[in-house]
């Protein structure tokens, strides 16, 4: 279980680094752009570690299915709440 928590936690950090790094590198000012590029490189480094060096037998696909399922479920729940409030 610790393997799953660590590997999936690293995947979450990697997704943040890649997504936010890309945004900051593209839209940032001259100073923040460099920080964005550093985050992008950190995200790529994490991705390399997870794909090539991580020796745990955690299934990436199953973990991502669970993560995406939870996120989509949360969004659907909030949409139901908003529809109920707006329609009332």
């Amino acid at each position: 279980m610790m393997d799953i928590a660590i590997s999936m936690g690293l995947i979450g950090v990697m997704l943040s680094m890649l997504g936010m790094g890309l945004l900051i590198a593209y839209y940032g000012s001259s100073k923040t752009r460099n920080v964005g590029i550093v985050f992008l490189l950190a995200g790529i480094g994490l991705a390399y570690y997870l794909v090539e060096m991580d020796t745990s037998d955690v299934s990436f696909l199953n973990g991502m299915l669970a993560f995406v399922g939870g996120m989509v479920g949360g969004i659907i729940g909030i949409v139901v709440f908003l529809v109920a409030i707006i329609k009332s």
């Binding site: 995947i11 979450g12 950090v13 100073k31 199953n62 989509v72 949360g74 729940g77």
Partner: protein, 144 residues
């Protein structure tokens, strides 16, 4: 890490649908609790309904959903760990961005130009430009 992209038998039902149901249930419970506590009148009733719906969703999952406990714990740990990782990453990025000096240097700004600027004169120029633009629009409308 096993990067295999082959979806095993029942993997979608075991991992995706179980976490989807849990996500819907938790979101409905949280929003229902919030609305029933802070809402008034009709909103409060909707809050109770949402809260009840959330309890029903989770109860359905616990009672009727055919899932082994180990698989569900794996799915739950995966989802929560990935979400926590994303939050940690975001906090890290915000922390670094706040620490980095992101404002352009004020030394580059020529303050002497600002001191020499006559604001009244600039305001008059702007008013004149606006008046000319209004007169131009009025003349066009009369021609039409």
């Amino acid at each position: 890490m096993d990067m295999s992209t082959e979806i095993g038998n029942g993997a979608i039902m075991d991992y995706f649908v179980s976490m989807l149901l849990i996500g819907i249930g938790v979101a409905l419970l949280a929003t229902g609790l919030f609305t029933s506590y802070f809402g008034a009148g009709k909103s409060q009733k909707i809050g109770f309904a949402l809260f009840f719906l959330g309890i029903v969703t989770i109860a359905y999952f616990i009672v009727f959903y055919p899932l082994e406990e180990d698989i569900f714990i794996d799915a739950l740990v995966s989802g929560v760990a990935a979400l926590s990782g994303m939050i940690i990453g975001m906090v890290l990025i915000l922390f670094v961005l706040m620490k980095v000096d992101t404002v352009d240097d004020l030394e580059d700004l020529d303050l002497e130009d600002l001191e020499d600027l006559d604001l009244d004169e600039e305001l008059k120029k702007l008013e004149e430009e606006l008046n000319q633009a209004d007169e131009g629009d009025g003349a066009k409308e009369e021609e039409e």
